[in-house]
């Protein structure tokens, strides 16, 4: 496997930093985007994640990892948090954290599942559920007029579960090399020709994209989804070394 260097000094990335909630935007009934103000944030590469730490008054701490949802923008750090049923940290972040409240973050973390603006060649993004978050950071980092076409194949349970729904529709409509294919596993909009069902190989080959286009593939989602999507990509002939995966199970409540 090829390797990529990590930006920023190591000491900068391992320090815990105070982060203040500047804004929050509901994305779906179960997910919220938090905009944190992190003074002197060193910046990150699209696809990276951060650790978020919560501390109670008596010193009890809980730490979880969350993907960054948007490219570096000064001291503003955007995380999209999906509520995990009974999740200790995600339910607090989704339901209780208010503007002006303080948490701690450290990072950026992860130097493999990244896309750097300027990295040549087409990009195939394959998202299952909230696995779309780090991929959205890549999509948002793609400069207008980029020579690298992007295709996002996004699997969600239903239209109501889609994160960034309007923004994705807008970006796809701009005719600027971004395509979005939606896959619904439980309920689809009326008239949807694909129908309901888990990701199929043909979902990954639509719009004339083929192995010959040699895209770099980024797959993110729950374990079962990533196993299946990555296996489809390999079976379609994509070389394993061009497929990067990021998986999460129900591991971070």
């Amino acid at each position: 496997m090829a390797r990529t260097a990590i930006p920023g000094g190591l000491s900068a990335r391992r320090a815990w930093r105070s982060a203040t909630l500047a804004d929050r935007r509901p994305e779906t009934a179960q997910a919220v985007t938090l905009v944190l103000d992190v003074p002197d944030w060193p910046g990150h590469v699209p696809g990276q994640h951060v650790d978020v730490r919560l501390t109670s008054e008596d010193g009890y701490r809980a730490t979880r990892s969350y993907s960054v949802a948007a490219p570096t923008d000064g001291d503003a750090l955007e995380l999209t948090v999906q509520r995990v049923p009974d999740g200790e940290v995600s339910t607090f972040l989704c339901d209780d954290l208010r503007r002006g409240d303080t948490v701690e973050v450290r990072g950026p973390l992860g130097g493999w599942f990244v896309w750097r603006p300027g990295q040549p060649g087409p990009v195939l993004l394959v998202a299952g559920g909230s696995g779309v978050v780090p991929l959205m950071s890549m999509l948002r980092a793609r400069p207008a007029g980029s020579a690298s076409p992007f295709r996002l194949v996004y699997s969600a349970r239903s239209p109501e579960d889609l994160l960034y729904r309007e923004e994705l529709a807008r970006r796809a409509a701009e005719n600027d090399g971004v395509e979005v294919g939606l896959v619904f596993t439980r309920s689809a909009p009326e008239g949807d020709r694909r129908g309901v069902g888990r990701l199929r190989p043909e979902d990954l080959t639509g719009h004339g994209w083929s192995v010959d286009d040699a895209p770099t593939c980024y797959v993110c989602g729950p374990t079962g989804f990533v196993e299946s999507a990555a296996a489809h990509l390999v079976a379609l002939g994509h070389p394993p070394e061009r497929i990067r995966t990021e998986r999460f199970g129900p591991s971070g409540p």
């Binding site: 496997m1 809980a62 730490t63 409240d101 390999v234 394993p240 199970g249």
Partner: protein
Amino acid sequence: MTVTRGFHGRRRDSDARLPPGQHLTPDFPVLSAGPTPLVPRDDWELIVATEDGTRHGWTWAELMALPSEDVTVDIHCVTSWSKLDTDWRGVSLDTVLADVDTAADFAMVHSHGGYTTNLPLEDLLDGRAWIAYEYDGDELAPEHGGPARLLVPHLYLWKSAKWVREIELMLDDAPGFWEQLGYHDYGDPWREQRYQGD
């Protein structure tokens, strides 16, 4: 101390067997950098290569012929989940390395798919590391590293390389895949050695 207003936490994870910063999971999450390699047992081979270029090899049948051990251990992932009392069967690396002559102090473990990770050789010895091929009484599933993976439960789980194919013994340490990407060279969960410099 930076307190987050209103956060009390659940504190259900106050188990003395839980290293700092970890929480329990009943599941077995999967973390890998790429697609799961499918390695047929007929083609499987374990290589131990020493610093002078000597190569020792075991086929699947030869591995199965070695004495196995049933081990019950706690495992800790750097992404902060821990799982207690996991049941494995495998061959101790003390057995695998018993007849290997080496002056090496370090090992680079190579996997199918290109993954690597580095460890001090002594951490692979003295009943602390196995080539594991069963989990919870069943064949080890491919997404968890089957047919066989390294199991080094006293270090963070990225050191327990899935789909192991070669153990390269080295006189000098060198960083593996995640270690080059900023993760700790040793990875002791009890000292919370997650990232370089921790």
